[in-house]
């Protein structure tokens, strides 16, 4: 098809009101530049202050996880002296000292790495499970869909944290960072699956899929090349927010004693150790909680901004 023909077709579609893209036909056909869903979205994003707050927070967290020594002000998290036990924050030690007399700023900063690894690893597993199961379910419908949907319902009905606790305690995943990430993903992929499934079903009936099929494309090719790219927007939003949720869930599991174990450095462990000293040394719970919250907030804000930018209905 020549460019002229393509433009004609697009024009026909717009006038007939049968555009098959996900975005509303905000396309100015006569202008040379076409506003795609993504270019509109990135313009919206760059104007959204909440997005930038999220990006800055997220970038700070990333930096902290990769280069903790930049933030620790020269203190070593494992270098402790009991004489400083539970000292409150001061000009020298901004976050004070923990019960063993270790510099708390260094400990909190070094806790970021495990959170980041678990959050990213778990979200990748969630996406793989969710996209594969959801795409198969939505694309093949019928018996495959029924079976996969029932399996999803089963996992959905078990409380998230509870399922992760049982699977971690059972020991079949072992212990450590990977085990925690996988446990979170095993009981956390269902929403992604449902999102992908409904997107695939929505896109499946469109003309360009029929056209691809008419040209003899295989099911796999149609699914991977034509359907999934058009179903990706809501999944991207979901994944961004979910990283934050998973990081919070890791801290929770570790707090409950089934996640990471000492001598690992983790915000969950710090909060757990500090909770009994809430009365006398509140800074022990406060600082890891604060950094944990800011981290989760970074991903929630970025996800929210992404959704506003990608949802054509919100566009004025």
């Amino acid at each position: 098809m020549t460019e002229q023909q393509q433009a004609d077709l697009r024009h026909d579609e717009v006038t007939a009101g049968t555009t098959t893209g996900l975005a509303a036909p905000s396309v100015d056909v006569t202008s040379a530049r076409q506003n795609s869903l993504w270019s509109d979205a990135s313009r919206d994003l760059r104007r959204n202050p909440l997005f930038w707050i999220g990006v800055v927070l997220g970038f700070g967290f990333l930096l902290m996880a990769v280069f903790p020594q930049l933030f620790a002000r020269g203190a070593d998290p494992r270098e402790c002296s009991l004489s400083k036990s539970n000292q409150p924050p001061s000009a020298d030690a901004w976050f004070g000292f923990d019960q063993q007399g270790c510099d708390y700023l260094a400990n909190v900063v070094y806790g970021a790495r495990n959170s980041l690894i678990i959050g990213l690893l778990a979200v990748v597993v969630v996406l793989v499970l969710g996209v594969v199961v959801g795409a198969l379910s939505g694309f093949f419908s019928g018996a495959v869909d029924s079976l996969l949907s029932r399996i999803t319902d089963i996992f959905y009905a078990i409380p998230f944290i509870l399922g992760a606790i049982v699977i971690l305690r059972s020991g079949i995943l072992g212990r450590g960072v990977v085990a925690v990430a996988v446990a979170l993903a095993v009981f956390g992929w269902m929403t992604a699956m449902r999102l992908v499934r409904s997107q695939v079903i929505a896109v499946k009936g469109s003309d360009y899929v029929a056209a691809a099929r008419a040209m003899g494309a295989s099911s796999l090719r149609i699914l991977v090349r034509h359907i999934l790219p058009n179903a990706v927007a809501p999944v991207l939003v979901y994944a961004t927010i979910t990283i934050g949720v998973l990081i919070a869930a890791e801290a929770t599991l570790t707090f409950l004693g089934v996640g990471l174990q000492r001598p690992a450095i983790s915000w969950g462990l710090q909060i757990e150790a500090g909770q009994s000293l809430l009365r006398t040394a509140p800074h022990l719970v406060f600082f890891p909680s604060l950094i944990l919250t800011l981290t989760v907030m970074a991903f929630v804000m970025m996800g929210d901004a992404l959704r506003d930018a990608l949802d054509p209905r919100q566009r004025a």
Binding site: L50, R150, I151, D153, I154, F155, A157, I158, P159, F160, I161, L162, G163, I165, V166, I167, R169, S170, G171, I172, G244, A248, A251, T252, F255, L256, I271, Q275, L278, R279, P282, V285, S289, L292, T293, V296, M297, V300, M301, D304
Partner: protein, 307 residues
């Protein structure tokens, strides 16, 4: 409608079986021998161990144990823990705590969430709208664990308004944990209401109501709110099912002896029968409230028909 309910009820059976089997298998895989642990420092006599293993069907393969367990469960027998206490006793002791906590949380969620959402929705992009948007983002971002400690520290220790642990003061001691438990859903309810109200205010029937000269109050309350609240009510309904099973963290932070705490302790103590019994109950609540909500949806919104 009757056929729809029947079909949905049938669909819940594989979910209940699958979820309870999944948990059963995971509990089966828990390391260590619970019977040996029962003896503590003094090992039990081999004959006693053998008899106990037999009594709790521990020598059967996994699937047979599960079938026997389910057979008993269907006759109303939840079994006993390894010390001989009936699982139902544990449920009877802890379920009221969880129910009270859920009631308080749902009340907060419905009242504060809907009021905030309506105020935000009727003046979209106004001052209140932005306050609600920003504060709901904040609340959603605070992990429930952190929120629990902040609430304990500020309202319990600093101001001394609420007890920070236990249930000695009746309903009063549920207020703080209830609010903490509700926070996330509360923010979601506010957003849902806001979007729904704002969307409905642009609907044709609202314009008609305005055009025929109805006072603004009537337009908002009678015509907009009623329609806007349908998705909100259904979300809150489904949330009851979620809250009944998801309060482990809140119950731990505030030291409430509810279902979540009981199941967590049972996991730590490898009390398989207790874990599976309570989780099955939680799954049942979840499935039941979701089904109830779907039926409610059709009742509230005549445009929706299940055939």
């Amino acid at each position: 409608m009757g056929r729809y309910i029947a079909r949905r009820l049938l669909l819940t059976i594989p979910v209940l079986i699958g979820a309870s089997f999944l948990i059963f298998a995971l509990v089966y895989a828990l390391p260590g021998d619970p019977i040996r642990a029962l003896g503590g420092d003094r090992p039990l006599a081999p004959a006693v161990v053998a008899q106990l293993r037999d009594e709790f069907n521990l020598n059967d393969p996994l699937w047979l144990q599960y079938v026997k367990y389910m057979g008993d469960l269907l006759q109303g027998d939840f079994g006993t823990d390894f010390r001989g206490r009936p699982v139902l006793d544990t449920v009877e002791r802890t379920l009221p705590v969880t129910i009270r906590l859920t009631i308080v949380a749902i009340a907060f969620e419905a009242v504060i969430g809907i009021v905030a959402g309506v105020l935000a929705g009727i003046r979209r992009n106004g001052f209140l709208d932005n306050v609600v948007l920003v504060s709901s983002t904040l609340v959603v971002s605070i992990p429930i664990l952190v929120l629990g400690f902040v609430a304990q520290f500020v309202f319990g220790l600093q101001f001394g308004w609420f007890p920070i642990a236990g249930i000695q003061e009746g309903w009063y001691s549920y207020l703080l944990p209830g609010l903490v438990l509700a926070a996330g859903s509360l923010a979601y309810v506010a957003r849902l209401t806001r979007t729904s109200v704002a969307e409905n205010l642009r609907a044709d029937f609202v314009r008609t109501a305005k055009a025929k000269g109805l006072p603004r109050r009537t337009v908002v309350v009678r015509h907009t709110l009623r329609n806007s609240l349908i998705p909100v009510v259904t979300f809150i309904g489904a949330d009851i099912g979620t809250l009944m099973g998801g309060a482990i963290v809140t119950e731990t932070v505030f030291n409430l002896p509810g279902l979540g705490r009981a199941v967590f302790d049972a996991i730590q103590g490898q009390e398989g029968a207790v874990v599976v019994g309570i989780v099955t109950l939680m799954v049942f609540f979840f499935v039941f409230f979701n089904l109830a909500v779907d039926v409610l949806y059709a009742v509230l919104d005549p445009r929706i028909r299940y055939d």
